[in-house]
């Protein structure tokens, strides 16, 4: 049986709490796609829900606000992992609900 629990936890802890160039609060906001500065809101929203629509302009907006490429890389990674985490958690909860009533 596959068990990605441990690997997923290590990944999430690393990107949110490990050393980085973006602050932990910026990374957390991108992961949760909430409470974001105006300059990165569109970029993070698109990464989470419509990644095919991310444009050079969205990245340029983030850069113009003073973020470096490394900081942008980090918050984009956090946004992608955050959205996948919400999907995964939703499905696990649905599975728990379906199996507990049997």
């Amino acid at each position: 049986m596959t068990n990605i629990g441990q690997q997923r936890k290590a990944l999430t802890e690393r990107i949110l709490d490990g050393a980085g160039t973006a602050s932990p609060s910026e990374r957390r906001a991108a992961f949760e796609n909430t409470g974001l500065a105006e300059s990165v809101r569109t970029l993070i929203q698109k990464v989470a829900t419509q990644a095919t629509a991310v444009s050079d302009h969205d990245v340029a907006m983030a850069r113009a606000s003073g973020l470096t490429e490394d900081q942008i890389f980090e918050i984009v990674v956090c946004a992608a992992v955050g959205q996948s985490t919400r999907q995964y958690d939703s499905a696990r909860a649905a599975l728990d609900s379906a199996t507990s009533k049997e």
Binding site: M1, F73, A80
Partner: protein, 162 residues
Amino acid sequence: MIKLIGYRPDFFGVHMKKVTHEAMRGSSAWSVVDRELMAALVSRVNVCEFCIKAHTAVAVRACGDEPKVAAVLSDLEAAPISEPLRATLRMLGKLTREQTVTADDMRSMLAAGVTPQQIEDALAVGFAFNTINRLAETFAFSIPGSKALDAGAKFLLAHGYR
């Protein structure tokens, strides 16, 4: 993919490779082909051309049945696959498209003969590829030619995602 995984690997790549390898090659009742089909289908719903092509190539190389792989991606309901796999791909497609699924969706899968552990294993594939697809699109991976795709598929089958 290699560029993304290789960029500051201690931040993301090292950990993501472990997640992906476990999801795609860890012990599971799903075969490697089944899981590559899941990866290709999630990528198709996310319209991630790079990932669709890469994982279609791995699935075709692994099962040697190109029409079957094409059928799964073009018309899931009519594809010549088992009902448990069809139900699982249907759920992964919905989760990817709508970001959520319901207990009734899960009951449908259980009724189709999918075990709870198989559902968990499929969700692991969904997690990995919903993450990777987003990053591939955001960082705009260029799509390799067929020769490079085939070489990539051969490597992933022989070595996995580590």
